[in-house]
């Protein structure tokens, strides 16, 4: 029986006919492990290892950073097992965790506001014991889960009213406002964008969407003028200047973008080879092991390498979105799609920024960039996507808040 794509059947009907994937809970845990989407997981592992190889390439000449690739490898191994663990978690547990996780994240964000550590001009970090965490990263996952949980609760009794989406908007805007205040414009934008995708997928009427788009475009200038901090405005200005080919001062604010573009362009079609990039090996691009890691890939592996990377991301996200579409529960659908949107916006913002198409917003490249919190969030997102995939046929019932 064809379960793929548009079948005309409602999901529920289709599932009842092919019950092979029903009731994993009744089968052994080993069996469940065997049924994980291993191709998908292997692709993720391959990309993370590529990222570590690029990290080695970008930092091995610098004695201070030369060891970072090992640290990143350890983190990845940890995150990998966490992802598998999360993937095996029953979707009902995810749902039960959604609101508490959301509440916890908002609490952390408030704590950051009150007692956070300032770094790079913004108050983003929270010191918990030995580790410094960035609650704004967790917020992405927490908001996705909370939205899915919320829609699971309100869409089930078929209330397709416009007003139900106001609750979702509130779920997004509360943490978004806290993050914006840190200030962290990039994360706010990513949060609102992926939240918006969830609302869109949850069926917000086209008219409202149209109005929102018009309102959004209209608010661009007022936001630029009155909401953005001077340093943020400067970044936007720099971005616009280089985008339209205006005079850019190569040693000034656009230095990073310029050097990044030189590295990418110098890669040519097939690149200079691993450890051979003249820009990358000589530290010309600031932050090339974190946000600008793509410049190293582009220079050393050329157009072939960078395109292959983007296509791998496309495969991962496409499969995930497809898997989300096959989920019967609203929670499964929206949580999975929200996670796809979260990771997708990471990629778009990062690549767009590095390629000089978007302002510098300080967004890492998932799986590739050096950094612990982003790795954790990304891998948790994949864990959620796989969990939704594993339990795609499970009908969930939500009562109360837990």
């Amino acid at each position: 029986m064809n379960r793929e794509g548009f079948t005309g059947f409602s999901r529920g009907e289709a599932r009842t006919r092919t019950a092979t994937s029903l009731n994993f809970e009744t089968q052994g845990p080993l069996n469940k492990l065997m049924r994980l989407p291993w191709g998908f997981i292997l692709l993720i592992v391959a990309m993370a290892l590529t990222g570590i190889a690029m990290l080695y390439s970008s930092a091995h000449t610098n004695p201070v950073e030369a060891h970072l690739w090992k640290l990143q490898l350890v983190r990845f191994v940890f995150c990998f097992f966490m992802m598998i663990g999360l993937a095996l978690l029953p979707l009902s547990w995810w749902m039960r965790l959604a609101f508490p996780a959301y509440a916890g994240t908002v609490l952390l964000l408030v704590l950051v506001e009150l007692m956070g550590v300032t770094g790079g001009g913004a108050q983003r970090w929270l010191q918990i014991g030995p580790v410094a965490v960035q609650p704004s990263e967790f917020a992405k996952l927490a908001v996705t889960m909370a939205l899915a949980r919320y829609y699971q609760m309100v869409l089930q009794p078929q209330t397709g009213r416009v007003l139900v989406h106001l609750g979702a908007l509130a779920i997004i805007l509360l943490p978004a406002a806290l993050i914006f205040k840190q200030p962290d414009f990039g994360t706010t934008l990513a949060l609102v964008a992926s939240g918006g995708v969830v609302i869109f997928l949850a069926g917000l009427s086209v008219r409202v969407i149209g109005t929102a788009i018009i309102g959004g475009v209209a608010s661009v200038w007022p936001v630029y003028q009155f909401v953005l901090a001077p340093y943020q405005r400067e970044r936007v200005d720099t971005f616009l200047a280089q985008l339209f080919g205006g005079a850019t001062n190569a040693l000034g604010e656009s230095y990073q973008i310029e050097q990044g573009k030189i590295a990418i362009g110098a890669g040519g079609f097939n690149g200079r080879g691993w450890l051979q990039g003249i820009q990358s090996q000589q530290d010309y691009v600031p932050e090339q092991h974190t946000d600008f890691i793509l410049t190293v890939i582009a220079e050393e592996f050329g157009f072939l390498g960078s395109t292959a990377l983007l296509l791998c991301f496309a495969v991962i996200l496409g499969w995930s979105l497809y898997s989300a579409a096959r989920s019967v529960s609203w929670f499964g659908r929206l949580a999975s799609a929200g996670a796809v949107a979260t990771v997708g916006f990471y990629i778009v913002f990062n690549v767009g920024m590095v390629l000089g198409l978007l302002p510098v917003v300080g967004m890492p490249l998932p799986l590739i960039s050096y950094g612990g919190t982003a790795m954790l969030t990304t891998m948790a997102c994949f864990g959620l996507i796989i969990a939704a995939h594993m339990h795609r046929d499970e009908k969930l019932t939500a009562r109360g808040l837990f």
């Binding site: 820009q279 000589q282 983007l310």
Partner: protein, 646 residues
Amino acid sequence: MSKKPADLDFAFTRRTAIAGTAGGLVWAGLIARLFQLQILDKERYQAQAEANHIKLQLAPPQRGRILDRFGRPLASHRRAGRISITPEQTDDPEHTLAQVAALIELPDERLERIANEIRLSRRRNAGFVPVTVAHELTYEDFARMNVHAAEMPGVNVEMALTRSYPRGRDFAHVLGYVARASQDDLVRLTEGMSDKESETLKTMFRHPDMRTGRQGMERFAEEWLRGKPGYRKLVTNAHGRVIEEIPDERLAPTPGRDLFVTIDSDLQRVAIERFEGESGAAVVVDVETGDVLAMVSTPAFDPNDFVNGISTASYAELRDDKRSPLYPRAHGGVYPPGSTFKMVVATAALESGAVKPTDRVHCNGYYHFGNRTWHCWKKGGHGSVNLHTGIKGSCDVYFYEIARRTGVDKIAETARKFGFGQDWVLGMTGGRGGLVPDREWKQRVRKESWYEGETLNFGIGQGQLGTTPLQLALMTARIATEGKPFKPRMIGIGPQSQDDHTLDAPLDPEVMKLMKAGMYGVTSEGGGTAYRSGDLGLGGPRLAGKTGTAQVRRISREERLSGVRSGSEIARELRDHALFVAYAPADNPKYAISVVVEHGEGGSRTAAPVARDILHFALKTDSRRKPAYSQSASLPKSMTDDGEPT
């Protein structure tokens, strides 16, 4: 407006497809941008990447060496470890400096000076020129710094070529020394240059490897030795650290030219040793070619101490040393020539016709003139004296008489014909011309007319008369060659001074023969004042010379009466200087020499043996033999002191 779950399901699927499509479009946009950057604009960015990491760095030229007559290096190069900081390559130079100071020992005073220099270079916008932090690193320091340099942006640890004077003190006053160009040096060096030329020169001199001649031949031949700067093509990382160097012949600096001096460094060494720690000067001249073969002034300083800047304390020590090691005695030391001047007086007397060689003067130990009495050095007198015995016995009374008969102006004129009164540069600095007094000079400078009694003092080489050991050697050479034109020089290959001229004023050869006979008498006939020094110990050749004593102060009446005016009874620094001039071999002169032993008292006792031993060595080893630079094929290759090619 509620919907059925089935409608909602369908809407979700449709919207997922829309979202996926939108995502696909965005992806396509990103890939299109990659295509634009990496395929379409590839060449532009590749060129930029190339230009980014290749930097041209000013490369100082290697200074020419100074070699002696036989190609032995007197000024060359030595490899030494050096640390410098390039201010523009570090965000916080003070911190970088502190990091370096934690690894090697640096006195606070020096740290302060370096910090100042870095601040200054930033203010001048010359942050790309490295500032030296330490040089002459020990092997351990060099190795340790090399290990840590990678962690300290802007810190360069390298082997540099440093000016080196392998003969140390021997040539201090001839060669002078090099030093970092000071503001004064730069003003002097850029005089008359266009702004652009002057800016290039100043930039070049800020390089830590660049030195400029501060004194002596290093200064005199600065342009000959300096060469022209070039550039190094360096691959650098974003912090300016040099990754590798790309060799490019066309950009290489033009090294300075080697300079040959006429001196025989072995003869120089022997001469210095012969002074046995006494202070004094000696000059040896080849009488046929005019080549200066030795130019000794001792004690001297070690020019190696000045190359990297001498400390204030060490300099003060040199400056305050009672024996004046900084004083260039051979060409800048002005001494009354004493009796060595008597040949000049005799020549003037004979050439003017005022005296005939056979004219006799009776010496009974003193000479009356006006209402004063002048004494002969020999108590009781020489008896009846003619020209020959007058020179041989150095009879003062005889010379009082002939000087008086000849007159001051004629003596002064003759003295100038011998080269007195002239500052012979010969490629050195710090030389002096001394003074040949005459009536005109006295009127002009002292505003007094010449007092006839002064002519008597002039006649025995005392009084206002001031000469340098170099001038005395030239005088002796003129006598030895019987007045043939004679051009003194000390630079074999290199720039020549415009001020030095050929000594070609005519001297009567017959008169010169008489002078030589007199000088031969001094060392080889009974009654000669240096009878014992005539034999060179080579089983034949003898030297002919003349002793002299330069009074350090006037002899008091009491001393003359008591007879105490030498030996341990008077303070050392008040004792007379001993002089001796000579040429050898007596029958076929090749070498002329002058020796001054400061506070040596008796010319025959202390100066003559020194001159004899120097001439002995010169004759034995044939110092004046054909110099290396006359056969250009066998020029030694440029190499450092430890024998590595540069």
